[in-house]
Symmetry: C2
Subunit: 227 residues, 2 copies
DNA sequence: TCAATGTATCGTACTTAGTACGAAAGAGCT
DNA sequence: AGCTCTTTCGTACTAAGTACGATACATTGA
């Protein structure tokens, strides 16, 4: 089989490689993303990929940056609260579309351009809204931690949906009596297994509390009590 | 070489295997934890491990649960705020001791006994402090997201210390002018690269804000404004 | 049109890691 | 000592990342 056996396929490029990698990870989880599976998705042989990325690490860095590029940036100079709210919602949506991303963030310490642009916009929005440098640092750390932390919690949850809750509860019961975890059991029965339950709804509550708290401090220009 | 070539070594056990796995991951990162490196650490041949754990996944589940077991539990029935504060600090400390853990949490969806016990204690503390089921759900999600999110941010940061900041800044400058990220650049110079900078200090600020906000709502028995 | 040259693609093969299978070595009991 | 259960191990297969060098292709200038 000669090399040109696949004529219709467009030429490879770094961007195409990375976008395909995102698609593969979306489809089968990060574990399903191997250089070989990626090659298959691209209708190419594995080694062809290496002319566009140095190695798999670069692929992983690249797809994390793609996810960041999907997050809506707040408008620098606009109202900070709506801006933060929308970027938080957008960030969470991106993490839900690509649940593997949050787990990758931890390992990848070399941020791509989209990631940097993202941070720049958040900091800029706060600064232009009158936050001091110190207060910007506080707010940035807090909002980031909350948003990514919530995304992490959501990603950790067994695939969303009520039937999974039952599965987990089942596994819990398998190895231990409900007596070992009385509050957790009560909580599961009284809340989690109720019909309308949706963990995602908690996102708004926490975000409101965080932003309200920051707004209060911003108005007064002081920090909260330090115990 | 007969099987008994290593006489002094204590017999393997699931617990010993898992504790060694934690040590290996602490030493070289999660990437350094392979069944073979673990076997070396145990002074055993790789396949010996499989009599005590089913596979590597079980090892990973196990070490995550060990990390959870190191987190101080709040005293159910005690004051909720100091309880939450201490468990948050303790959780963060555990994540700093084992930076690989936060990245694992995302993939491991089958919680171990320590993890369940931990959740049970947190929920119990809130319930006994008079939180409604709904409010407990809010508080639980919020505190968890913040604590793990902060741990994730901290783990993502290039290894703590001032010289690393310079490295990162250097890489940033390499591929792009400071003009592309003006606010980020200003922020780095004005804040991050200042002598006394310590990202970890932000933890207290956010935690205070979160707990204060929850306390306020708990006192009034209502939710924050919903936009 | 065709050869020259740089680029893209690929085949082969080496290495590391997880682990299936069954054998061998201990350990405890009779 | 002999039996049996438990623990440890040797061998080997498979999947995955990727080094190396070869081959095919596209572009360009004559």
């Amino acid at each position: 089989m000669p090399a040109g056996a696949n004529p219709g396929r467009p030429r490879l490029s770094r961007s195409l490689v990375l976008r395909s990698a995102v698609a593969v990870a979306d489809g089968g989880g990060i574990g399903a993303l191997t250089m070989r599976s990626l090659a298959d998705a691209l209708e190419v042989k594995p080694m062809s990929i290496y002319h566009h990325v140095a190695n798999k690490d670069e692929v992983l860095d690249g797809i994390v940056d793609i996810v960041f590029s999907e997050i809506e940036l707040p408008a620098i100079g606009g109202e900070w609260q709506p801006g933060m709210r929308r970027r938080a919602a957008s960030a969470r949506a991106a993490m839900r579309r690509h649940p593997w991303a949050i787990g990758l963030v931890q390992t990848r310490t070399s941020p791509g351009p989209a990631t940097l642009k993202h941070h720049d916009a958040v900091i800029g929005t706060l600064r232009e809204a009158g936050f001091s440098v110190e207060m910007t640092a506080h707010a940035f750390a807090l909002i980031d931690a909350y948003v990514y932390g919530f995304a992490l919690s959501e990603a950790t949850l067994p695939i969303n949906g009520p039937e999974t809750v039952i599965e987990v509860a089942g596994k819990m019961m398998d190895q231990s009596s409900p007596k070992d975890y009385p509050y957790l059991t009560e909580f599961s029965i009284e809340h989690v297994m109720k019909p309308g339950y949706d963990y995602g709804r908690e996102f708004e509550f926490g975000l409101d509390l965080v932003l309200d708290g920051l707004a209060r401090l911003h108005r007064r220009g002081i920090g909260p009590r330090h115990t």
